[in-house]
């Protein structure tokens, strides 16, 4: 499953959250601010898989941390997909 960030999003990053404006839907969302790093990564590599993202974020973590973080990252990505902030561009 390859992911891509929706076009023309506007972001405002704060200590307590990331506020995202989606001009396509006109909606504004307050989401986990760790989403920022994930969105940046997906944008940088154009399209990426959840495995790529997890590997990028968990680099340098031990196995326990990797397990915990993987679920957390998965939850964030599910939320981003649900809000149409990222889109699935290709399913394997």
């Amino acid at each position: 499953m390859l992911l891509k960030v929706a076009e023309q999003l506007k972001l405002a990053l704060f200590d307590d959250g990331l506020v995202v404006f989606d001009p396509n839907s006109g909606q504004t969302h307050n989401i986990d601010n760790n989403s920022f790093e994930i969105l940046q990564y997906i944008q940088t590599v154009e399209s990426s898989s959840i495995a790529d993202i997890t590997q990028y974020i968990t680099t340098g973590c031990n196995e326990n941390e990797k397990t915990l973080l993987s679920q957390y990252i998965q939850d964030i990505i599910n939320n981003l997909i649900q809000l149409n902030i990222i889109k699935v561009v290709e399913c394997n």
Partner: protein, 309 residues
């Protein structure tokens, strides 16, 4: 010429014929009415505002009048007109002045999308401008009136007009709309305060409009630089509670109190993003007016802080 310099009969005559043009902050309203108590109420609460001529640029042509039918005398009604069209259902005749005020609010909210508009009071002291977004029933107007009679400059009771380019707040220091017990509270605390006629049995209960202070009207052209956003909430018997509000949460709460954020799209997001980044937000729950005022005084004396975001 200020409105108070005109006699009641002069105001009445203008209202009945060409209309009286008032410069109210960034907007010029031409007001017409054949109803006598409109003149007396306008003179009382808009007395310090400048009167312009019909040759000046007019933003809103408004009128409040009885209908030309049987309801002009049987259970008489009053209509609000903007450009000769009535956007609302009529109200009982005795509510003519509140209807004019509500109609003026409607005009601004409908047509002033050069601003990000919030349902909010705005006050300033010592160069510190505080925006107070709040839902109806939160005690916003009462707190605004209290601060106003305690030396704060009123920029607005009803709506914050925020520039989408530089975030400055444009004053529109119109009368403060007070409801029910708030009217007596303010009359007790400021016996010299001037009110419009007090009107009972409106949809909002008993309504009175408090004249803005001369200081506020004299400085109508001085924009405010917002430093704080305070979300006030009056709760009977509540201990005063002040909490720093996280910025993303404040962002979303301001959206809930905006008239046109959604309509402005990206422009609204950028304006609000700047506003939140450059100000500190608090939630204020209170029941004791003096403690709420003390908090505002504290903010007005707070040194400027460089924000991280």
């Amino acid at each position: 010429v200020q409105l108070k310099e005109l006699s009641l009969s002069q105001i009445n005559s203008l209202l009945k014929h060409s209309g009286i043009v008032l410069a109210i902050g960034p907007f010029n309203f031409s007001i017409q009415s054949s109803i006598n108590n409109i003149a007396s109420n306008l003179r009382r609460v808009y007395g310090d505002f400048n009167v312009l001529s019909q040759d000046d640029l007019i933003d809103f042509n408004v009128r409040v009048d009885k209908p030309l039918n049987i309801r002009s005398c049987v259970k008489p009604q009053v209509f609000f007109y903007h450009n000769d069209k009535s956007p609302f259902l009529p109200l009982p005749f005795y509510q003519a002045f509140p209807l004019l005020e509500w109609g003026m609010n409607w005009c601004i909210a409908q047509y002033s999308h050069q601003f990000l508009m919030l349902h909010s009071a705005v006050l300033e002291k010592n160069g510190t401008t505080i925006i107070c977004p709040a839902e109806s029933g939160s005690g916003k107007s009462t707190l605004t009136a209290l601060l106003s009679i305690n030396g704060w400059r009123l920029l607005s009771d009803e709506m914050a007009l925020i520039s989408t380019t530089d975030n400055l707040v444009t004053p529109i220091s119109r009368p403060i709309s007070l409801k029910n017990q708030s009217i007596d509270v303010i009359k007790r605390m400021a016996p010299n305060a001037i009110f419009s006629d007090i009107v009972d049995d409106t949809n909002k209960g008993t309504i009175g409009h408090l004249k803005p202070t001369q200081l506020s009207v004299e400085r109508l052209n001085e924009k405010g630089i917002p430093r704080f956003i305070v979300f006030p909430k009056y709760e009977k018997l509540a201990e005063t509670s002040i909490e720093l509000k996280p910025k993303a949460e404040a962002f979303m709460q301001v959206i809930e109190n905006s008239f046109n954020y959604t309509l402005l799209g990206s422009v609204g997001f950028d304006a609000l993003s700047n506003l939140i980044s450059n100000s500190q937000s608090y939630s204020l729950r209170y029941s004791k007016a003096d403690e709420a005022i003390a908090f505002f005084e504290q903010l007005s004396n707070a040194p400027a802080v460089v924000e991280q975001n």
